[in-house]
């Protein structure tokens, strides 16, 4: 049985947008559907913070397995990794630590770019005309971009921007918007 399961997972890898079967967690309640469509047959419900296995992505849908059930949930309702509570507080406290302690000198290699920007190395950096000229030399003209899109089978679609949602802060997130742009 485990062998069959393993085979199934391996078989799924090349077909999916997810590189490998990974742990995920639901960010909110959702309906599990048989196919990636809002009109699909409902297989059941999955609760916020439920751990699921992520199998594939298609458009706005992610295929998940939980227990014996495999089905599709909304992509924006799930993410990789551990439940958000731990991860969020972990990130926030560690960010504070970084500010308090300053960057870890032992990890300079991995973070040179980011640290440099934050540490004010940017101020010391001199304006680099040569690099800027390189950057500007790569500019692509519109017809070239259109040809590139055509080669990739990309076809434009007319879509309006989405309005700002009514409730932009999520409960318990500590994320509160004050004013801001329209």
């Amino acid at each position: 049985m485990p062998i069959i399961l393993l085979f199934l997972i391996i078989w799924l890898i090349p077909q999916s947008g997810v590189a490998q079967a990974v742990e995920g967690v639901m960010l909110r309640d959702d309906t599990v559907r048989a196919t990636p469509s809002a009109q699909a047959t409902t297989l059941g419900k999955v609760r916020k913070n439920a751990r699921v296995q992520l199998l594939a992505n298609r458009g706005g849908w992610t295929q998940v397995r939980l227990g014996a059930t495999t089905g599709w949930v909304r992509l924006l309702y799930v993410r990789r990794g551990a439940p958000s509570g731990a991860s969020l507080s972990d990130s926030l406290s560690s960010a504070r630590d970084v500010v308090r302690r300053g960057p870890d000198p032992g990890r300079v290699t991995a973070t040179a770019g980011l640290r440099g920007l934050d540490a004010g190395d940017l101020e010391k950096a001199s304006f680099d005309e040569v690099q800027l000229a390189r950057l500007e030399s790569w500019s692509v003209a519109a017809p070239q971009a259109r040809r590139f899109a055509e080669e990739g089978g990309l076809r434009t679609r007319a879509l309006a921007y989405m309005p700002r949602p009514v409730s932009e802060s999520s409960p318990g997130s500590g994320f509160d918007l004050i004013g801001g742009a329209p």
Binding site: R80, L132, A145, R146, G153, S167
Partner: protein, 297 residues
């Protein structure tokens, strides 16, 4: 031991870094003389403005009347300084590829005719930037974690949104004043106009912080649409955010990003609120994982 093998991150942080960049390059401790060391050449498509600061660019910025040429001038200055700290990856094929994807997405925006420039920075930090006038940069650290061209398009679309909405120009107008880029300067400008005084009177720092979050969220929701207009899968950006969300803030490459931005989980939550069922009728777009240019390691 490869730094990229840590399994950390993804991140991305897009845009706000621009804020950091802007602060360092323009506001914090940088005297006005250094910001604009040379007389600004007259911009091509606008009449000279009254120059109360002795600096036409700064004057126009503070007055909120940057021409497109001045916007580009501002962007060049920011990006030129950034490139002095972090150079570009020396792979022309990669850079050309990123420019084709970026330009195609930018063509779907309200400013298709800007002279857009895209580049990959030689840094393991996980980040992306935009600067006024059509400059968009992504780090190698972020690029190497992308799984498809649609994800690249989503990340670039977020930055493109910052440019077309002039988020950084607006931020700079504010940060110039926060830093008091000289109270004298503000005084000079403020004698005739009440703009500077008006902004100061609103508690610039709080407003700027709130604006940071809102501009990020606005760029997020625009990015889905820009990518979809270009024919890509609309969900490239959220997939990158998903990936970032579970990385530990202990990872130096994302720690500062997490500090200065809404957490990716929150951004996903807001996107979920934004999208709802709106895109249910949208046919799946292209993801093009095989066309994604692979870095030469």
């Amino acid at each position: 031991m490869r730094p990229s093998g840590s399994g950390s991150s993804l991140g991305w942080l897009m845009g706000v870094m621009l804020c950091v960049m802007s602060h360092h390059g323009f506001a914090m401790g940088t005297p006005p003389a250094k910001v604009e060391p040379k007389p600004t050449p007259p911009s091509e498509n606008q009449a000279p403005k009254p120059d109360k600061t002795g600096n036409p660019l700064l004057s126009a910025l503070l007055a909120g009347q940057l021409s497109e040429a001045q916007e580009r001038q501002l962007g060049r200055r920011i990006v030129g300084n950034l490139l002095g700290a972090v150079p570009l990856v020396g792979d022309d094929a990669l850079q050309g590829y990123v420019n084709r994807v970026g330009r195609w997405v930018a063509l779907q925006s309200e400013r298709p005719d800007l002279v857009w420039h895209f580049g990959v920075l030689d840094s393991e930090a996980i980040n992306a930037f935009a600067a006024p006038g059509g400059y968009v940069l992504i780090t190698r650290g972020l690029y190497r974690r992308l799984n498809s061209e649609a994800e690249l398009a989503g990340v670039l679309a977020h930055e493109i949104a910052h440019v077309i909405r002039r988020h950084h120009v607006k931020l700079l107008q504010r940060s110039q004043i926060i830093a008091g880029l000289g109270g004298a300067l503000v005084k000079e400008v403020g004698t005739g106009g009440d703009m500077a005084q008006h902004v100061i009177g609103h508690g610039a720092e709080v407003a700027a912080r709130a604006l940071d979050k809102e501009t990020e969220l606005e760029a997020d929701r625009m990015a889905l649409i820009l990518a979809a207009r270009a024919g890509y899968d609309a969900y490239g950006l959220p997939l990158v955010l998903q990936e970032i969300g579970h990385f530990s803030g202990q990872d130096d490459r994302v720690a500062l990003l997490f500090k200065t931005h809404p957490h990716p989980d929150q951004r996903l939550q807001v996107l979920a609120d934004t999208v709802g069922e709106r895109l249910d009728g949208l046919a799946p777009g292209g993801t093009l994982p095989d066309r994604l240019y692979r870095l030469i390691e």
